[in-house]
Amino acid sequence: MTLVRYEPWNMLDQLHREMNQLFDNRLNKSSPDDSQVATADWVPAVDIREEDKRFVIHADIPGVDPKDIEVHMENGILTIKGERRQESEEEREGYKRIERVRGSFFRRFCSLPDTADAEAISAKARDGVLEVIIPKHEQQQPRRIQVES
């Protein structure tokens, strides 16, 4: 028979840890610029993929005008931010259901390796999906070194 100890604090502690983890992961709390994260209204979901010659990032940003998106990279830190605006000012009344969140979004990625070429970064948005392409530096692509006999 296994003895199970009654430890209510464990659960609370675990909950606390899980919540912290959730917020840390989603908002990259460890980044130096916390102030903007704290004021962001929503956080887009992203996919990050690494190919041989580039990194490709997709972010779900439905309802954001491409003009209101800002992408920049500095010291290996990629920042995506922008704003989802109200479609039009008169559309405020008569809501029967509101699940959508408007306002600013912010997401920052610190773990991009040195191979990422910040100068050649490009971004485009289509159907509410933002695509950011960061090429890798030419010379840092993996090379196969022939062993001479």
């Binding site: 992203v46 990050i48 190919e51 779900d60 439905p62 005008d65 259901r97 509410g128």
Partner: protein, 166 residues
Amino acid sequence: MSTLQQLKQGLGRFWDSLSEGWQQLQQRAGHALTRFQPGAKRGELQTREEQIEQQASRWGLLAAELQEDEDSISVRLEAPGLDREHLDISVIDHHLVIRGEKHVQREQTQGRYHIMECAYGQFERALPLPAEVDDSGARARYRDGILTVTLPKAPHSRSRRIEVQG
């Protein structure tokens, strides 16, 4: 008051505020949480696209909003990256039913994923409509990842202003 009592009270308040926050979150976002079914056919040979979809998140947040005015109802749904040709919109039993598909594209199969949070596959959402609508007059538009459906109300359910005669 003993320390134990204080502790108990504090804990009680903590749970109350936690559950209150959770309820608010659920009210606001609970319905938006939508299940995505990977598009792969069972038992058949999977393409690389389908394999990636299998690994992707099964849940996506598709936030909707519904607005009603005197003679129409408009619904907006945040659904980024959909294939237009697979969008299926219908009115069934006082609900607006939206079915759609978001797929991993061929060029997304190269390399390896470091982070994968976006949901892929098929989804369906049914939104209860607050009034009878005339679905023959429905219009839909898809722009910047927002699907907007405008439904005119059925003639008998339009609100009429009734003049009081003196």
